[in-house]
């Protein structure tokens, strides 16, 4: 399949707008689950407001949250897909810019030193474009994540050492959730990266927080056991929705792993606020399909 770059541009534009307006089904189900288990009245009230907000956003065709985030596009190239990588990235960038100007969306992106906003949601190395590969025949998949700053500002890395063991990893996750408190707009998805190099560890935490649907499990058995244990533990802290108390601190803790060095024991935490937005489209010879 030879990729139609005009289609990629349209997809990049449509996905940004769709992501900020329509929450994925698994996240909506997550709200339902928490609303059913929350024991504190105040927390139940906040969850009800958040559910009402999702309904208002859909009824008024509006954004669920004002933060248009840092735009991230995760591109997965299947077997037999032919595309010029430079052109692909440029098409995504054009789509991102057009979503911002044509909808319009707030451009939340500035130069890191001058703080100048180009009002395009673009800048140096932004939108972030990650490329990976899959076995899917003749398929180009694009996932768009508008990553909000309230949760992104609560990202932590610790290069623990082997002598500290897995206990250091667990304590770091708990302390990160405590430190974030209400600043990160709980209930959150707590993404945890374990292992790898420093940069890979943080990347895994981001993938765990933003790309894994609620209800999914870590592919590694040990990682899956750990995320289950940590999900229960985090929700015993009592931080609650908005940091105002309750059982619903996190929808889930997601763990992603990578092999690491004999001398290293790195752990990273990246959080996703309750506006857990992502949208995906698949381009195949049959056309464009947007996932619900």
């Amino acid at each position: 399949m030879r990729v139609d770059l005009q289609a990629v541009e349209e997809i990049a534009k449509a996905l940004y707008i769709r992501a900020v307006k329509v929450l994925p089904a698994d996240v909506k189900a997550g709200f339902e689950r928490l609303s059913g288990t929350e024991t504190q009245a105040g927390a139940r009230g906040i969850l009800a407001t958040l559910v009402r907000n999702i309904e208002v956003a859909e009824a008024t065709d509006n954004l669920t949250c004002q933060d248009t985030g840092i735009p991230i596009y995760n591109v997965t190239l299947g077997r037999g897909v032919q595309v010029d990588g430079v052109d692909l990235e440029a098409a995504i960038r054009r789509g991102c810019e057009r979503a911002t100007r044509e909808h319009p969306l707030r451009s939340s992106v500035v130069h890191p030193i001058t703080r100048v906003n180009q009002h395009s949601s673009c800048g140096i190395r932004v939108p972030v474009v990650h490329v990976s590969f899959s076995e899917a025949p003749e398929e180009l998949a694009i996932e768009m994540v508008p990553k909000g700053s309230g949760s992104e500002n609560n990202t932590f890395l610790r290069m623990a050492v082997p002598a500290e063991g897995i206990a250091a990893v667990k304590a770091f996750v708990i302390d990160s959730v405590l430190s974030a408190g209400g600043k990160t707009c709980p209930p959150t998805i707590v993404g945890v990266g374990i292992g790898g190099s420093a940069d890979l560890c943080v990347h895994l935490a981001k993938v765990a927080a933003t790309s894994r649907p609620l209800g999914s499990r870590c592919a590694d058995t040990e990682g899956a056991k750990l995320e289950e244990e940590l999900t229960a533990a985090v929700n015993r802290l009592g931080v609650g929705p908005q940091g105002l108390g309750g059982d619903s601190t996190a929808f889930a803790v997601h763990v992603e792993l990578a092999a690491t060095h004999i001398t290293m024991n790195p752990v990273a935490v990246n959080m996703q606020c309750h506006a857990a937005r992502r949208a995906t489209a698949r381009l195949t010879p049959a056309g464009i399909h947007y996932e619900d």
Partner: protein, 204 residues
């Protein structure tokens, strides 16, 4: 716990009467400010033509659409999506907002800290917590963008909104030392060791 309906601005006495756990709904004028707005005002010495005395400010930078000025859009901006950002980043600006501009209420999410606490007690003010991330709902409480100042730092301009039924907001910090966020955080911190022990990760 009482509910208060305020048509802005309010007096110091009205602000001091609030207690944590009360709820508040605002009507009339509401000003929107953000990190950059306050950096310009308090670090770079820029002033605003708006009189913020007795008013509420909300930590926001809205999504807007530029339109022709008319009765409905007097500032040439249509509100698209107006939400609230995390307050903690702007902690150091609470006192200058109150001392120099006479602001009474700060509206935000996630709470503020010790310096703001002291400012609310010394000068008579309160932190009103909104449900963060509920921007579609919040937008329905905005009637219009009436005016805008410091618009060269758009979207972090100083926005003048006209609101009706803006709330209910929860009094999260009051002028008497009450702070719901601090209390929840302290209780959560107190559970830390027990939670770590249950994970087999007690400190050695």
């Amino acid at each position: 716990m009482a509910h208060h309906d305020f048509t802005m601005p309010v007096t110091e006495a009205q602000a001091r009467a609030l207690r944590v756990g009360d709820t508040v709904t605002l009507h009339g004028t509401l000003y929107g400010i953000r990190d950059r707005t306050q950096i310009e005002m308090f670090d770079r010495g820029r002033s605003t033509r708006f009189d913020l005395a007795g008013h509420a400010v909300i930590h926001t930078a809205p999504n807007v659409r530029r339109v022709e000025r008319c009765a409905r859009f007097p500032a040439g901006y249509e509100p698209v999506c107006v939400g609230t950002t995390t307050s903690a980043r702007m902690e150091r600006f609470t006192r200058p907002l109150m001392e120099r501009c006479g602001v009474r209420f700060v509206i935000g999410k996630g709470g503020l800290q010790e310096q703001s606490h002291k400012a609310f007690a010394d000068l008579g003010g309160a932190y009103l917590a909104i449900v963060g991330g509920a921007a579609a709902l919040e937008t329905t409480w905005i009637e219009a963008i009436e005016d805008v100042d410091l618009d060269d730092v758009n979207p972090e301009s100083l926005w003048k909104f006209r609101v009706r039924g803006f709330g209910p907001l929860l009094v999260g910090m009051d002028a008497h030392g009450g702070d719901l966020f601090r209390d929840v955080a302290a209780r959560a911190q107190a559970r830390r060791d027990e939670v770590l022990a249950s994970l087999g990760a007690a400190p050695r």
